[in-house]
Symmetry: C2
Subunit: 294 residues, 2 copies
């Protein structure tokens, strides 16, 4: 991937493979294999690579490149991902950041939130996550895990969540939890069943909408962003069940002054957000700049 500082990076090659379910070693081997395959495709040697950006699930520590735990990847706990990828890639520097932070960096520099100083990136996909940008800076928190907005409880009891808690936004709206609650293979089945008027699917989708509405209210009241950018597969395919309830919540239930100040829009970078954001983030970190100094 190449491109100058301020333009959207161009994707010159890509290589994807399924995430192994057999533990961290295999996941890392697959990442290294994909990186090398993409370089072969682009006919560029590894020694030409200045840095590698890596978007990973979290919570993780972007400064040390350690993934603390990735609830949706089997066996991924306290993995020094940056160091292990780097050693698999002949020592090229690797910068790891949380997938949602990478997405916020991408959307905030060359996507839907370009130039916006106060925004929240939300992803609704297998899980529900996010990243918070306040006054042009990513809110990192004490141990670099801030922004896990999918794990704010929106119900006093409510279904268990993959994170070990219950009643989280993700417990209702994450694709994995939704499919598990319905008993189907993936979340798409639940939406299709709801469209076909299946009562149980409709109830689950109704709860998902209520959870997204609550998330919209909460983000606007607590963080007062001028923009909420919503990405992820479920948001992309089911905007009426995801973006619309968030907008309704913000409009009808949040403080008026904050509600009037916010727009809730789809992400602009789609499925490429991880690749694009990772390149922008790696560039910024090579340059010694704070990622996303908008």
């Amino acid at each position: 991937m190449v491109g100058s500082q301020d333009e959207r990076p161009r994707i010159v090659a890509d290589s994807t493979r399924p995430t192994p379910t057999t533990g961290a070693d295999d996941v890392i081997a697959a990442l290294v294999a994909s990186t090398r395959a993409a370089l072969d495709q682009a006919r560029r040697p590894l020694r030409d690579v200045v840095a590698v950006g890596c978007s990973a699930p979290g919570p993780l520590d972007h400064e040390r490149g350690i993934v603390h735990v990735a609830p949706n990847i089997h066996g991924f706990e306290n993995v020094p991902l940056a160091a292990r990828l780097s050693s698999g890639l002949d020592g090229v520097p690797v910068f790891v950041d949380r997938d949602t932070v990478i997405a916020a960096i991408g959307e905030g520099t060359v996507g839907a939130a370009r130039g916006v100083r106060d925004f929240v990136y939300v992803t609704v996909s297998t899980g529900v996550g996010g990243a918070i940008v306040a006054d042009g800076r990513i809110v990192r928190g004490a141990t670099n895990t801030a922004g896990e907005i999918g794990h704010w409880p929106v119900a006093l009891d409510g279904p268990r969540c993959g994170c070990g808690s219950f009643g989280c936004v993700e417990a209702f709206a994450g694709g994995r939890n939704l499919a598990e609650r319905y008993g189907s293979r993936d979340a798409g089945d639940v939406f299709r069943a709801a469209d076909a008027n299946d009562a149980r699917a409709r109830a689950l989708v109704g709860e998902l909408e209520s959870a997204m509405e609550a998330l919209g209210v909460g983000l606007v009241n607590v963080l007062n962003p001028s923009l909420i950018v919503v990405g992820g597969g479920i948001a992309e395919h089911e905007p009426t069940h995801v973006l619309e309830p968030m907008r309704r919540g913000a409009r009808e239930r949040a403080f008026a002054v904050a509600s009037k100040a916010v727009r809730i829009v789809p992400a602009a970078l789609g499925a490429d957000v991880g690749m694009i954001g990772a390149v922008v983030a790696a560039r910024q970190r090579v340059a010694g700049r704070d990622p996303l100094a908008v």
Copy 2:
């Protein structure tokens, strides 16, 4: 109130009176009267006053000194509080900020969060509010209303809240809402009835605890603070119903890495937090400094 830049301001006089329920004009007149009475008590003329700091309920715009709406004060909507107080005080500059931001400035400079760069101030009192400090700076948001953590919904349905929404933390845990739901004059009655084993009071206090637990989980996951400082009358008088559930939520349900990084402690400045924080904030603003540059 006097004192040097880095020490806790000394309270040399005070004058309080009940908040009028007859509209904004009367509230402003009462504030002016209290200020003048305190000066008389301290035997200092108004012309000696460099600046006045004012802690007000919000959401409000601290830059322009306008209170957008104060749900718990009758008739307080879009009030240019700083300008009106200043003209009632012979033109002395008046700096208004949200009560919870003022409290965070007080606790963050001379109180329980002194020197802490990532913390959340929470108040549980008539209402539930807060202020967020990320990397040493107050998170203001797009229109300066960020931090209204009492109005994150923690139930998909749930009781109405004074803010017009429902299911908010404040709907369960704010003193006004709690007393209204029970049908008593104040929240103290509900806690006393619960202690005397009244079933309805126990159920309401149980819901309050669940809401505070959810708030603890949510704040830790979303903001990853190293400290949560909890003040307000209800928190002070009922710590087992307020701080304990927050700690339990953070410990048992939040992401481990964030959970281990946080302490949840009572506020240090007690009922004086508004006066102390307002003086610190006014000093910082007179000096042209960002409030709370810790």
